[in-house]
């Protein structure tokens, strides 16, 4: 296990979303802390990644890759605010 941060999710999330979600603002479902996805603490490596709130350590986002699927669990974030491309 090694710890990275939400910056490292950029590629996987860009396979799903049209925008760069690492610059999106999340609000943690556990403690209400809000910051950009890039600042989450990320435990991995792929294929199973868990991103935790740096403030309360609750799981904010989970990303699992299988050979033919990508499973994104966003139960830990109550809100995602995504900048629109200028």
């Amino acid at each position: 296990m090694s710890m990275l941060d939400g910056n490292a999710l950029a590629g996987d999330l860009r396979e799903v979303f049209a925008a760069d979600v690492t610059t999106a603002l999340y609000t943690c479902g556990g403690c209400g802390h809000a910051d950009v996805i890039a600042t989450l603490h990320l435990w991995g490596p792929a294929p199973g990644q868990v991103a935790r709130c740096p403030h309360c350590t609750d799981v904010v986002l989970r990303l699992v890759q299988t050979p033919d699927r990508l499973i994104l669990d966003l139960r830990g974030t109550v809100r995602l605010e995504i900048p629109r491309a200028g």
Binding site: M3, L4, N7, F17, A18, A38
Partner: protein
């Protein structure tokens, strides 16, 4: 770019190794030709994917070391982690003409844009220097005037990445300062003993918080947290401190 805009999503491309060079005994730069590369911002990274003959895949993120000037290859500098699954292959096995699967550029947060006018403080721990070097190179390419300071923590003089180029840029790129901190062994005659970065280091060799610098900190997790905590304690605006962590090993 046009093709990417159609689907809006990012897919893997095949890059060809056009050259390699050792930066230190354990870090190697891969020079990659990537067809239809859309360009990148300094600080962005790529994902590299390796597939074994039995179909097993491993994927890792690597920072881009080069600046994009509208043309040319994409350079990655890879630090070998001895217990790593991917990095020893990239440092020790890959040769010219080999092909790698690559996805990117990605990441819009840990980036510096040459339009930014504030002074910049770069704080690197070990190979955390790689994305910061892309920022220094991008500033050099556009002859940027933003005052740049780099504080670079390395174990020993042998572990310095880009030492000759940085020395040249300090001489030729006006407004760039570099300060090294050695954590295990210093060069002969170095004026201070081996030590870790401290409040005094960042206070003496960074920018005063009043200058409102954009701060970029990259390195191992413990290094990044220590450096970012010190910057906040010194009075820097947390919103102007951007961090990127890699791996658990120091």
């Amino acid at each position: 770019m046009a093709r990417a805009a159609v689907s809006g999503r990012l897919t893997w491309r095949v890059a060809t190794v056009a050259g390699t060079r050792w930066e230190t005994p354990t870090a190697r730069t891969l020079v990659l030709d990537v067809p239809d590369w859309p360009g990148h911002l300094p600080g962005q990274h790529v994902d590299v994917r390796l597939t074994a003959p039995d179909g097993y895949r491993a994927q890792r993120s690597y920072s881009i070391a080069s600046a994009w000037t509208g043309d040319g290859p994409v350079e990655l500098t890879v630090q070998r982690l001895d217990d790593g699954e991917v990095s020893p292959y990239l440092t020790d096995e890959v040769t010219d003409g080999d092909q790698l699967e690559l996805r990117g550029p990605v990441g819009g947060w840990f980036v510096w844009r040459p339009e930014q006018t504030a002074p910049v403080l770069l704080v690197a721990g070990g190979s955390g220097l790689v994305p910061l070097m892309a920022m220094i190179r991008a500033r050099g390419a556009v002859r940027g005037r933003q005052p740049f300071r780099l504080i670079c923590s390395v174990r020993t003089p042998r572990d310095l990445l880009y030492a000759d180029e940085l020395a040249r840029r300090v001489r030729d790129d006006p407004g760039l300062d570099v300060r090294y901190v050695y954590t295990r062994q210093t060069p002969d005659g170095w004026p201070e003993p081996a030590k870790r970065i401290s409040v005094a280091t960042l206070n003496s060799h960074g920018w005063p918080p009043d200058f409102g610098p954009d701060c970029f900190v990259c390195g191992p997790t413990s290094f990044v947290e220590t450096a970012a905590d010190i910057l906040v304690a010194l009075g820097h605006d947390p919103r102007k401190i951007r961090t990127e962590r890699f791996g658990g090993t120091a």
